[in-house]
């Protein structure tokens, strides 16, 4: 009746699970506190508190109620908790209604749900390549005037 605690209670072996699994998943549970820089080659799911930089080349997910107290660098990210630090995502960043980001955001694609809070600068890839047509004409105008040509009529 009073069983000795054993891993078999929690972790049961199943023979029918033969599916190959290539993503190593790191999970920070809800009542766990991680201190220090934290990096993984696979997906990271945070439900608790992380006090340190988080780094992954794959998906970073933070659940509602979680806290990350440093910068986040990831391939893709879905944030539902609080992040107090800069967020740098290579591809797609999704902020859900419960997300709170206190820091600068850098990403490729940004999806923000109504209710999400951001306090910081948002910069996205691809914005720099769009040039203002008026600004692009100015250097050529200066060059022509220097050569002693007349100013073209407007």
């Amino acid at each position: 009746m009073f069983q000795k605690p054993s891993p078999e209670i929690a972790l049961s072996h199943k023979d029918n699970h033969m599916r190959p699994h290539d993503d190593v998943e790191t999970i920070v549970g809800p009542s766990v506190h991680v201190e220090g820089d934290f990096s993984s080659e696979g997906n990271i799911l945070v439900k608790g508190i992380v006090s340190g930089n988080v780094r992954t080349s794959k998906l970073f997910t933070s659940e509602k109620g979680s806290k990350v107290l440093a910068s986040v660098k990831a391939g893709n990210s879905i944030i539902s908790g609080a992040v107090k630090g800069n967020v740098k995502v290579d591809d797609r960043l999704e902020l859900t209604a419960s997300a709170q980001v206190l820091g600068d955001i850098e990403c490729g694609i940004l999806v923000v749900e109504a209710g999400a809070m951001i306090r910081g600068k948002v910069s996205m890839k691809g914005v720099a390549s769009i040039e203002d047509p008026n600004q692009s004409k100015k250097p050529s105008l200066i060059r022509k005037l220097k050569e002693g040509e007349e100013m073209p009529a407007e």
Binding site: A10, L11, S12, P20, H21, I27, P30, V32, K47
Partner: protein, 254 residues
């Protein structure tokens, strides 16, 4: 030369016919060899070293998961090719290695498909562990790869490190699957949320893949590795990459 290490439980009448069939099949494949019976208090490492001196080239473990863990936790230091013939109940590691039970395993052994396996190493008594390591709920602090530290907010945490067996965490919403031989060991950490009438209550687990981990505590805590229990205040768990050379089946799970 093949040396077969038989577990003591195989003396039972129940296994007589299976053992006979295996021995006949091994003779057919011309890989029959010396049989050594493992008594309860015998150190398998000493036996293996002795047989290597006598010219053994392959050590074949005959028995179940417990036999496999018992032999390799001490015998992994020996540089020799290992084989496994699963007989009897509690044979889940054989499934991972792609070795069928009983007589059919002889064919896998004869084919000699060799693979180097990653195993776990634990600092107390300088031992290896094959299937898993378990620390019951204790006031432990876990440090991973000398980079980050994990502390439970409720203090007491249970730790399970999985190695060769794939495990499934049966959660309400999702199933976590841990796979062997992915170049990392997987650690499950469960903080205790309280004590129930029949069993302790736990919170959702944390999972961390790692190569080196230090577990420490002010008070001594229990460490159970492949069935052996000791009390420690600090242990280091490491991944011993490609430590064992093993004959495996075509249907292996890694």
């Amino acid at each position: 030369m093949y040396v077969y290490l038989y577990d003591n439980f195989l003396r039972g009448r129940k296994f007589e016919s299976t053992i006979k069939a295996i021995e006949t099949r091994l003779t057919d494949f011309e890989i029959a060899g010396k049989i050594v019976r493992l008594q309860n208090f015998v150190n398998p490492q000493a036996i293996i070293e002795e047989e290597i001196k006598k010219g053994a080239k392959v050590i074949v473990i005959v028995g179940n998961d417990h036999t496999f863990g018992r032999v390799l936790s001490q015998g992994a230091v020996c540089n020799i090719l290992f084989g496994f013939l699963p007989v009897g109940p509690e044979n889940s590691i054989a499934n991972v290695l792609g070795i069928p039970e009983g007589e059919a395993a002889c064919e896998v052994l004869s084919q000699r498909r060799k693979v180097n396996l990653d195993i776990g190493w634990v600092s107390n008594r300088n031992r290896y562990f094959i299937s898993q390591l378990h620390i019951p709920p204790s006031d432990i602090v876990v440090e991973y790869d000398e980079k980050f530290k994990v502390v439970g907010r409720n203090k007491k945490m249970e730790l399970v490190v999985c190695n060769l067996q794939p495990f499934v965490w049966n959660d309400k919403n999702n199933n976590l699957v841990v796979h062997p031989q992915d170049g990392k060991l997987e650690a499950f950490l469960r903080p205790m949320s309280g004590r129930g009438i029949f069993k302790d209550k736990f919170e959702d687990p944390s999972v961390f893949p790692f190569e080196e981990m230090t577990v420490s505590s002010d008070k001594p805590f229990e460490v159970e590795a492949d069935g052996k229990t000791t009390k420690e205040t600090k242990i280091v768990i490491k991944l011993a990459k490609k430590r064992i050379e093993m004959i495996v089946g075509k249907e292996r799970q890694f």
